[in-house]
């Protein structure tokens, strides 16, 4: 059974690239344009993993992570922060919120797939 990964990013080009990379690797993908859109779409999907940007309108990545972790069904799914923020305090905030790991932009598709392999069975 194919794994369903949600990608939340307000950049359409990043969503396009992440989506393409994941689909090429055999994953199914659902896209969200920001944190609130991600929360709304969770109701209609059973995701196995979340990849989220941190800086997004309406609901940012840190808040999104907190709300996903509070959801009983998603207490233990892997969540990866996809961000240009390389400051340690942002990574620390994300980890505190419940993120599993992070990738710093810019990244190569193979790096993204390498991280997914590390955290998703």
């Amino acid at each position: 059974m194919s794994r369903l990964i949600m990608t939340a990013d307000d950049s359409s080009s990043v969503r396009q690239m992440v989506s393409f990379t994941l689909k090429q690797a055999g994953y199914e993908v659902v896209e969200a344009v920001d944190g609130q859109d991600a929360i709304d779409k969770l109701a209609g999907h059973q995701i196995h993993m979340l990849i989220t940007d941190l800086n997004m309108p309406r609901l940012d990545g840190i808040e999104l992570i907190k709300q996903v972790r509070a959801h009983a069904a998603y207490k233990f799914i892997p969540i990866i922060m996809l961000t240009t923020e390389s400051q340690p305090e942002m990574k620390a905030k994300g980890k505190e919120a419940g993120a599993t790991g992070w990738i710093i932009k810019p990244f190569k598709p193979e790096q993204l797939l390498g991280v997914i392999k590390k955290v998703l069975r």
Binding site: N55, F76, K95
Partner: protein
């Protein structure tokens, strides 16, 4: 259209839309400098133009936009006020980015200069901003410099990995990290259940296991550390080199079970000595005394088996050749080289087209033969290091002195004869250093000294004796 072009076109389109947003936002801010929503909108637009630009190869745009993003970051933090100068600069930046987007072959030098003027003006307004090119993009993989692959010996590592009890709540499955380690080389894993609570206290959402892993690989230490990058802050992880496996004629003595357990810190030397006094197998004695768990014994035995297996493979993949036969071969090759040189000279004098080709081939083949034969005698010095480790360890115990032995450059090759002749002098040096050059632990503590580093050996490759 290739996927790369599709992504680039997608970025251009998105960036153009975002620049419209930038213009609208800055004009809103001009009307109302307290409009936090507009400030955040403007910041996010710049952030996305920069981040996505770097993703899709628009490095110049990313580097330039970084300055405007930084400025807006400070505005939204309340560190920099909105001024007319800043508004004008943001609008100029927006126009400059647009020109860059519309010039796929690069902007004119005059335009580039204009960009530099804008950056300089932004820096004047926000003095502690760093230029974009000084910040290198951070990639997830390999935060440390990778060790050159050609120099990596097959090395056995001992890894002890104890994830935090709430590792599941981070979404991490530690078993996946074991799979990743197994992909790096030969991996033998022992689970440790010392911290498993009784059933009544067992919480299925918490994690109670630990693992001892013996990994033999050429991947290098950094690749192993990268496996744990997401859990290193919250887990107990120790990685140590057990042995570097050079190709060697000699079978190196395997560490004994008791030595392995002491090295790991699982038991004291005194307990081992006491157990040995019973003349049973050390593992049985320790188990009988309840001094250690069966799992730790089995884990240490696995380490011993792993090293034995690697050693057997190393030794069996080499062939023993008497030294005098090698010497004879080298002499014959030496004479061949001289004769080939004469032949080349004669061919040049005769200058016959049919002769020149074969003579050139002989010259090339002779050169290769000479290089290969001389390399046969080259041995990695790492084989000697193992003996030194054992020597230091035994002397350390015998004299009651705590000593760290650090070696590097095990892959450095030397002629076998030089290596053999260096053996005794180096042993002599080490003995003398330990006997006379290093104080006991009590004296060192009194003097406030740390454990001494005894031996550091990173020599360059030495040429063989001809």
């Amino acid at each position: 259209m290739s996927e790369e072009n599709k992504f680039s076109d997608g970025y251009r389109q998105e960036a153009q839309e975002l620049l419209v947003q930038v213009e609208e936002s800055i004009l809103d801010i001009e009307e109302n400098p307290e409009d936090l929503e507009a400030i955040n909108r403007l910041f996010r637009a710049m952030h996305t133009i920069k981040g996505s630009g770097a993703m899709f190869g628009f490095d110049d745009i990313a580097a330039f936009t970084h300055h405007v993003e930084s400025a807006m970051d400070k505005v939204r933090e309340g560190l920099v006020p909105i001024t007319e100068a800043l508004i004008n600069l943001v609008l100029s930046s927006r126009d400059h980015i647009k020109r860059m987007l519309e010039s796929p072959d690069g902007i004119e030098p005059e335009e580039k200069k204009n960009g530099e003027v804008i950056i300089a003006a932004l820096r004047e307004l926000i003095p502690d901003d760093l230029p974009a090119q000084e910040k290198e993009p951070e990639f997830f993989a390999s935060p440390q410099p990778e060790e050159p692959k050609s120099k990596q010996l097959n090395t056995s590592y001992r890894i002890r990995f104890k994830p935090s009890e709430d590792v599941f709540s981070t979404g991490m499955d530690p078993a996946l990290l074991l799979d990743e380690l197994a992909g790096l080389g030969d991996c033998r894993i022992s689970v440790l259940t010392d911290h498993l609570p009784v059933l009544e206290g067992f919480d299925p959402e918490r994690f109670y296991l630990a693992w001892d892993i013996i990994l033999t690989s050429t991947c290098g230490l950094n690749a192993i550390k990268d496996v744990f990058i997401f859990v290193e802050d919250d887990s107990e992880i120790s990685i140590s080199v057990i042995q570097e496996h050079a190709i060697t004629e000699r079978e190196e003595p395997l560490p004994k079970l008791g030595d392995i357990l002491v090295d790991r810190g699982d038991i004291s030397r005194e307990a081992i000595d006491q157990a040995l006094g019973h003349q049973k197998k050390i593992g049985e004695v320790l188990l009988g005394e309840g001094a250690i768990s069966k799992e730790k014994i089995n884990s240490a035995l696995k380490e011993q088996q792993s090293l034995r297996s690697v050693q057997q493979n190393s030794v069996s993949s080499s062939v023993r050749v008497p030294s005098d036969r090698l010497d004879k071969l080298i002499n014959l090759v030496g004479e061949l080289v001289i004769t080939q040189a004469s032949l080349t000279q004669v061919s040049a004098d005769i200058d016959h087209a049919d002769l020149a080709g074969p003579v050139e081939d002989i010259q090339r083949l002779t050169g290769e033969l000479r290089d290969n034969v001389l390399n046969i005698r080259m041995m990695p010095i790492g084989a000697t290091f193992t003996k030194f480790r054992r020597l230091v360890r035994d002397l350390s115990s015998e004299l009651g002195k705590e000593i760290n032995l650090n070696t590097s450059g095990a892959e450095t090759e030397m002629d076998k004869t030089i290596l053999e002749r260096l053996d005794d002098p180096l042993v002599h040096l080490i003995r003398n250093s330990i006997d006379h050059g290093i104080e006991t632990a009590e004296v060192r503590e009194k003097n406030g000294n740390l454990l001494p580093e005894l031996f550091s050996f990173p020599p360059p490759t030495l040429a063989p004796m001809s």
